[in-house]
């Protein structure tokens, strides 16, 4: 499946004529169209309340649009045939506090077995193997029998990523995943996100309010603003994707360019 995506480079996230508003509020999106090609890494940035998290929830199928269509991997959202293939990582982890890190990482696979949708329905070994693999890759094997409140914030977020990747998603949506972490942990996880993207060529959309994070991760950056978003403003950042990008002079220039765009928008909407 994933190999096929790579060859064809088809559209992975397809938003057409999206209109969305929370009850009684002015719309956040009106006739908004936006497309993400398979394998791309995107960042979405904008001020608080501009609708960047809302956009992710809409793509994940957790909110329904008023009008318009959202399709992920050519499938209407919410995806019926491939539940759990749109990965979503939230800021506060969403780990089950009563389950160990290992149980949390296995949760998606257990849910598949629960619905008898698992491709390894009769092979629990295979599930264990997959879980161990991702625990190892995310470097949290040592704390796998701990409960979430016994490990650090960074480890919790690693567990959330492992849990999502264990389901072999075709899209990875991240909603300000690192904003409650300290600076070093945040940089480690940003680097890890890039590494994972390079390894899996997974279509990634990361919502952030942090300019450096957007420039570091997103090859394309969608800039949203307060008020009604109708036309996507895309900032090109094609040099992103290398783990040492942060140290290049060009990185800072890009950050400044993006900062200017955000400032201009703030003036316009203010």
């Amino acid at each position: 499946m994933r190999r096929a995506c790579q060859q064809q480079r088809h559209i992975m996230i397809d938003i057409n004529g999206l209109t969305f508003a929370y009850t009684d509020k002015t719309p956040i999106f009106h006739d908004f169209s936006w497309h993400v090609t398979a394998g791309e890494s995107w960042a979405v940035i904008g001020p608080s309340g501009c609708g960047k998290s809302t956009l992710l929830y809409l793509i994940a199928g957790l909110l329904r649009p008023r009008q318009g269509h959202i399709r992920v991997a050519r499938e209407n959202v919410p995806r019926k045939a491939h539940r759990g293939r749109t990965g979503l990582i939230l800021q506060d982890y969403g780990l089950l506090p009563w389950a160990t890190i290992r149980e949390n990482v296995a949760l998606g696979l257990r849910i598949q077995r629960f619905y008898k949708q698992s491709r390894w329905q009769d092979k629990p070994d295979k599930v264990t193997q997959q879980v161990e693999r991702w625990l190892q890759r995310l470097g949290i094997s040592e704390v796998s029998s701990h409960y979430p409140n016994q490990v650090s914030g960074g480890q919790r977020q690693r567990a959330a990523i492992a849990r999502t990747l264990a389901l072999q998603p075709d899209v990875l949506l991240m909603d300000e995943p690192f904003s409650s972490l300290d600076a070093l942990t945040r940089e480690n996880l940003q680097r890890l996100t890039l590494e994972l993207w390079q390894e899996t060529q997974l279509t990634t959309v990361l919502v952030t309010h942090n300019i450096e994070e957007a420039i570091y991760i997103g090859q394309h950056i969608l800039v949203l603003h307060n008020g009604i978003n109708s036309k996507p403003l895309v900032f090109a950042n094609s040099d992103a994707g290398q783990t040492n990008y942060r140290r290049e002079a060009h990185f800072l220039a890009q950050c400044n360019a993006l900062r200017r765009i955000l400032q201009e928008q703030q003036h316009e909407t203010a």
Binding site: L90, Q91, G94, T100, L107, I111, F114, Y115, H146, R163
Partner: protein, 251 residues
């Protein structure tokens, strides 16, 4: 709670009781040795029978109330609309001391086991209902969203999120209301019946001025409460292992 600490506390209580009995020398306060001997002998005889009857009534009430209140609490906690519909009734009925319904319940259901189980179930039902509902509705939306993104639908959410989230709350509610349940049982058994510890204490011993046996009955009733407490503890250890984990952040 450590077994050793409980044993020490028990010993201290018995010693105080012994001292009081020696000092006061009253027929209405027999020494613990005599009482415990009577208790031990009684437990293989008629006291044991009454103990089992009472124990059975409480267990049945717990089972019935848990089975009825948990799903309803989960449903109310998940659905804002259902909760809006039912919460005025719960608000109204929850604070009423259910014991005052006893005469009515006896009028309708008679004096047998059923009316006793019914009144205790009624008390436990509301306690469990309210805490399960609140535990379910207080779940963080982020948690629900992330489990849904893993492919969890309604049934999976119930199985993997709501149920484990409500279990400790339900057990805590049980623990808190067991005292009330036993007290109500005692009251309900103290008249118009011929079995149970309430009957044994009030009618068979107190009424006949058999004080040693009466004390043995009180010991049996205390043991009943303690036993139920220990059962809830054991259930909690078995089903909520994460509650016993200390927070120890590792970096």
């Amino acid at each position: 709670m450590k077994r050793r600490d409980i044993a020490i506390a028990t010993t201290i209580i018995i010693v105080i009781w012994e001292l009081l009995a020696i000092l006061l020398k009253l027929t209405v306060l027999p020494a613990p040795g005599v009482v415990l001997l009577t208790f031990a002998r009684g437990m293989i005889g008629s006291l044991g029978y009454h103990f089992l009857v009472s124990f059975g009534r409480v267990l049945a009430s717990i089972a019935i109330s848990v089975v009825l209140a948990t799903p309803l609490g989960l449903a109310l906690g998940q659905s804002k609309r259902l909760n809006r519909l039912f919460s005025p009734f719960i608000y109204l009925l929850y604070p009423i001391p259910k014991i005052v319904f006893l005469p009515i319940i006896i009028l309708f259901l008679g004096v047998g086991n059923f009316s006793k189980v019914f009144i205790i179930s009624l008390i436990l039902f509301f306690q469990i209902l309210v805490v399960v509902r609140d535990a379910a509705s207080n779940l963080r939306p982020e948690l629900i969203a992330s489990v849904r993104s893993l492919g969890g639908g309604r049934r999976a959410l119930l199985r993997f999120v709501y149920l484990p989230a409500c279990l400790p709350a339900a057990l805590t509610a049980l623990r808190v209301s067991i005292g009330t349940a036993v007290a109500v049982l005692f009251f309900a058994e103290s008249f118009a019946t011929t079995s149970g510890l309430g009957y044994y204490i009030i009618v068979e011993t107190w009424g006949r001025l058999a004080y040693t046996e009466m004390y043995a009955g009180v010991v049996a009733m205390s043991l009943l409460g303690l036993l139920l407490y220990l059962i809830v503890d054991a259930l909690e250890r078995r089903f909520c292992p994460w509650l016993n984990q200390q927070e120890q952040p590792t970096l």
